[in-house]
């Protein structure tokens, strides 16, 4: 408790110092070791000097190999979000994790000093000695023990038990504290999901600030005090209180200590969240200067519709979210009036839009037709991807099946090209072979004599409905009459799970930049949220309690391969499984892709340095800006327009 009070006082002083002290470049040079916004606090004795705040071995970020330069302190980073719960994007962007993906998509230690893996099932994690939470309290193995034993395994706090990533075939690991800076998680079988889950944009948290949270935990707290806290926070019970106060991904509790570069200081609801530097952050640049360079980040809330306009009015310093390619021309124009520039990054999904024929549809006839691979291939062959590309993306996108992107180590040209050429003749031939004869009006007839009228459902934005208009014609040309229906996302999800949807329009693989170490879950029926086989997915997800067992050999093969991946121990083994799955998935055309690598406009303040000119905009892996380390971004006050 006392540690916490101390930190709050120091934070308020820190805020005062930011306001009262103009960030003179001279001062930065004089006190090269301390970030200027912290220096007064250190001088006044509110905060230990840098050497005592950093872990003994901080993570040194070498800028040169990253094509970055060492920066200066100062400035504020303004970003705009649409909903209060978007505050989680700050956790995504700031991307400090136990282990992180580097730019080559390798897993490297970040908060951890190092880690060892034995047989793919025993994970030994080494903490940095002297690492501290943002309130100055030591970050220790106790924080791991508390999280595992007192939270994950607590029946009240985690009703469903530990998360999926912590279970292998339903069994949890054996957790051990080895010494003061070492913990070990050991499963009976390999758990390839473990490390990537720690590095996720939305990470699997296996540590928590125990010293802070114990005051909310029934096992540790004084019952009277706890009852008081529950009442004063207007919570139902201690479980709700602990859950709300402990939320790390959505950092709404300003008192919750963090290990991220910036800590939230604003309690919601708010129009603007203010994040301030974590004075104990563990990364330094090559000259030993503590990161982040930018002391303050503002996250303003706005309605999603006017975010492009506000960005164009120069009100955001770093914006990708809620911008779309069709805002590009407007944003380019805004470059003339405001000190911003627009870069085009690449979207990281496997296909900008994809069609998902529902293999679990209720309509028996359609279901039979969809399950015939010839039909799915015919639909794919009939799409003129080149025209879509020219029409909507100025020819800048890539025409391909729904698969991984060239940036992925798993990429093969054959996946892109699988049934993705524009060949209506072959499509017609395939349908003729299926004995779907054309009626007098050019529309094919289903086996039961009905006209082949297909309703495509989508959770409509304008872009999708425009593309849909073209696809309606392509499929009309091969004798399939198409109607489109725009729905709410959740209604659509419910409809395909109920079997009412025939075919839906959705995004492609979200891990377009997959590595072998990322789970291939989108290629196999494992979740009820998969529009092409929701009931099979539900069956896997609920371990047979709901849904239907897989009854298509190719889909079963994918599921088997997925299970094999789940217990694989080496990357080479995993790569083999991924390749097999990708080749089945694309050859069977379980989803019909259109174009990928669409341009994502990213608006950057012209004085902001170290933001890559070209990047990949994707949630997993990469955490959007996170993989490019926003804590290394800095303002060049003297410099002219960038690049």
């Amino acid at each position: 408790m006392s540690g916490r009070r101390w930190s709050r006082r120091s934070f308020s002083k820190l805020a005062v110092s930011v306001v009262s002290l103009p960030l003179l470049p001279g001062l930065g040079a004089a006190a090269a070791e301390e970030p200027p916004d912290l220096a007064p606090g250190v001088v006044a004795g509110d905060m230990p000097p840098l050497a005592e705040r950093l872990p003994r071995n901080p993570r040194v970020v070498d800028m040169a190999p990253l094509h970055k330069v060492e920066g200066r302190y100062g400035g504020t980073l303004r970003m705009i979000m649409a909903e209060d719960k978007d505050i989680r994007m700050m956790t995504v962007y700031s991307y400090a994790r136990l282990v992180v993906f580097d730019l080559d998509l390798n897993l490297v230690p970040d908060i951890l000093e190092k880690f060892e893996v034995e047989e793919g099932r025993i994970f030994t994690l080494h903490l940095r000695e002297g690492h501290r939470w943002s309130d100055g309290h030591p970050f220790t193995v106790e924080d791991f023990r508390y999280c595992w034993e007192d939270v994950s395994l607590n029946k009240e706090l985690s009703r469903g038990g530990p998360s999926q990533q912590m279970l292998v075939e339903g069994k949890p690991p054996i957790f051990e504290v080895i010494d003061e800076t070492t913990v070990r998680y050991a499963w009976e079988k390999p758990n390839p999901l473990f490390l990537p889950s720690l590095a996720g944009g939305s990470p699997n948290y296996i540590f928590m600030p125990a010293h802070y949270l114990k005051q909310f935990h029934k096992k540790y707290a004084d019952p009277e005090k706890l009852a008081e806290l529950i009442a004063s926070h207007r919570m139902r019970d201690w479980v709700a209180l602990h859950t709300v106060m402990a939320r790390q991904y959505r950092p709404e509790n300003p008192d919750l200590p963090t290990l991220e570069p910036w800590a939230n200081t604003t309690a919601p609801p708010a129009e603007r969240f203010t994040f301030r530097r974590n004075p104990y952050f563990h990364r330094v640049d090559g000259s030993g200067r503590q990161l982040p360079y930018i002391p303050t980040v503002y996250l303003s809330m706005s309605s999603a519709d006017i975010i492009p306009a506000k960005t164009g009015a120069g009100e955001s310093d770093l914006q990708g979210r809620y911008l779309r390619f069709d805002n590009y021309t407007f944003l380019r124009q805004a470059e003339k009036q405001h000190p911003i520039h627009v870069d085009l990054w690449r979207d990281g999904t496997g296909s900008e839009v994809a069609f998902l024929p529902n293999l679990n549809a209720n309509d028996k006839i359609w279901r039979g037709v969809f399950r015939d691979v010839r039909f799915r291939r015919a639909l794919s062959l009939a799409i003129n991807r080149h025209e879509i590309n020219q029409q909507f993306y100025f020819g800048l996108a890539r025409e391909a099946a729904n698969s991984v992107l060239p940036g992925s180590p798993l990429y093969k040209r054959s996946y892109d090209e699988a049934w993705a050429a524009f060949d209506p003749d072959q499509a017609n031939r395939l349908l003729d072979h299926m004995k779907l004869k054309k009626g007098g009006d050019g529309i094919r007839l289903l086996p039961d004599g009905r006209r082949a009228e297909l309703v495509v459902e989508f959770a409509g934005n304008v872009e999708q409905s425009d593309i849909m208009e073209l696809v309606r014609e392509y499929w009309g040309d091969i004798g399939i009459k198409v109607f489109q229906r725009s729905l709410n996302l959740e209604v659509m999800r419910r409809r395909f799970l109920a079997g009412d949807t025939l075919i839906s329009m959705w995004g492609g693989l979200s891990v377009g930049l997959a590595t072998a170490d990322l789970p291939p879950e989108e290629l196999a029926p494992v979740s009820s949220a998969q529009g092409n086989w929701p009931k099979w997915g539900q069956y896997t997800e609920t371990m047979g309690k709901a849904g239907e067992p897989v009854d298509l050999p190719e889909a079963q093969e994918l599921l088997d391969l997925y299970h094999a991946w789940r217990v694989s121990s080496t990357t080479a083994e995993r790569r083999g499984i991924w390749q097999m799955m990708l080749s089945i998935f694309t050859d069977q055309v379980f989803t019909i892709g259109t174009v990928n690598s669409v341009n994502q406009p990213v608006v950057i303040n012209s004085r902001l340095r170290n933001v890559p000119k070209e990047g990949v905009y994707s949630f997993a892996p990469g955490a959007y800006f996170g993989i490019y380390m926003p804590d290394t971004f800095w303002y060049d006050e003297a410099g002219n327009k960038a690049q």
């Binding site: 708010a270 309605s303 009100e315």
Partner: protein
């Protein structure tokens, strides 16, 4: 009169209860619940959801209980001043709404005053100078305000204000004043940002008010007592304001019932377009995502205000116009 008021207050209880039933069940009508919406949203962005966690949340918020029980808990809670929990914001509903209430009241009040300031002179002028060019011209302007889609007007004005005057887009103040104590700069910034919403929301209301005032006043102006007063040489302004205008204001008092809830709810569409931190967008968002306690409690709040507003306007009418009180008294 006292008996009438007491009777009306008791009648409000079953009314509100009935409204609460309707609200609760209408919000429940669309299939699914908040958590399904939440999952769909996360998945659309490539984030994954742990089904265990959702099951836990459902239990935590009582979604596994029968619907009647959920309703009972909600209503009982409201009697204790507990309006439930917002899933979207993960905090008590009162906290979510409370912070937005002040700005909503501010903007709505200014808009209402703006509407009156514009509509009254025009309405009186139109009645006195019926069928003149001024009557036609001003009425046309008013109708134009009514006919233009609010959101379009808001977008255009917002764009122009940014280009010409450098007013930041949307919101009720410049970002730099957020969370700052009140100062002249902040006051000025709020005033600057209020111009557009007030004009946009205000213009749509003026036309109706102009027409009603004009019609009522025209009726009055042709009555015997006005003609007599004029004939006896009462100054024309006095002959207009002293009685005819007062009598023409009945509709205005009757409108108070509707004004109270509208002060709180604000103009929803305009607020969404302009991204104002008022309660309107909050309600829409809550309805979309089926954040049921937030939406329900807010609707309930509006319903209570409507009931109170109608009561107030009834009493005010009775005070203003003795004829109304007599009729009410006879029925009792």
């Amino acid at each position: 009169m006292i008996r009438y008021i007491i009777f009306r207050m008791f009648a409000a209880i079953p009314t509100l209860l009935l409204i609460s039933v309707l609200i609760f069940f209408i919000i429940q009508l669309p299939p699914g619940d908040y958590f399904e919406t939440y999952i769909a949203e996360l998945q659309a962005q490539g984030e994954t959801v742990d089904p265990n966690k959702i099951a836990y949340l459902k239990h935590e918020y009582g979604f596994d209980k029968p619907i009647i029980e959920q309703y009972g808990l909600w209503v009982l809670g409201m009697l204790h001043g507990d309006f439930g929990y917002s899933f979207e914001y993960e905090m008590p509903v009162t906290q979510v709404i409370g912070s937005r209430l002040y700005l909503t009241i501010l903007i709505s009040t200014v808009t209402i005053i703006f509407t009156w300031l514009v509509a009254f002179p025009i309405g009186i002028y139109s009645a006195v100078r019926q069928y003149s060019w001024g009557d036609y011209g001003l009425t046309f302007l008013g109708l134009l305000g009514l006919a233009t889609p609010n959101f379009l007007l808001a977008l255009i004005l917002m764009y122009l204000a940014n280009i010409w005057f450098g007013v930041s887009i949307g919101h009720l103040m410049d970002a730099k004043y957020l969370g700052q104590p009140m100062s002249w700069g902040k006051f000025w910034s709020i005033a600057e940002h209020m111009v557009i919403p007030v004009i946009v929301i205000g213009t749509s209301g003026t036309a109706a008010m102009i027409r009603r005032l004009r019609a009522n006043l025209l009726d009055e102006l042709q009555k015997q007592y006005v003609v007599t007063a004029r004939a006896k040489g009462v100054p024309s302004l006095k002959a207009l304001v002293k009685y005819p205008l007062r009598m023409a204001l009945n509709f205005f008092i009757a409108d108070i019932g509707g004004i109270l809830p509208s002060v709180i709810s604000g103009a929803v569409v305009v607020s969404i377009v302009l991204s104002l931190e008022t309660t309107g967008p909050l309600l829409i968002r809550a309805l979309q995502s089926q954040d049921m306690y937030l939406a329900g409690s807010f609707l309930m709040f509006l319903a209570a205000l409507t009931v109170a507003g109608v009561l107030i306007s009834d009493i005010a009418l009775a005070l203003l116009d003795p004829r109304i009180r007599l009729q009410a008294g006879r029925r009792k």
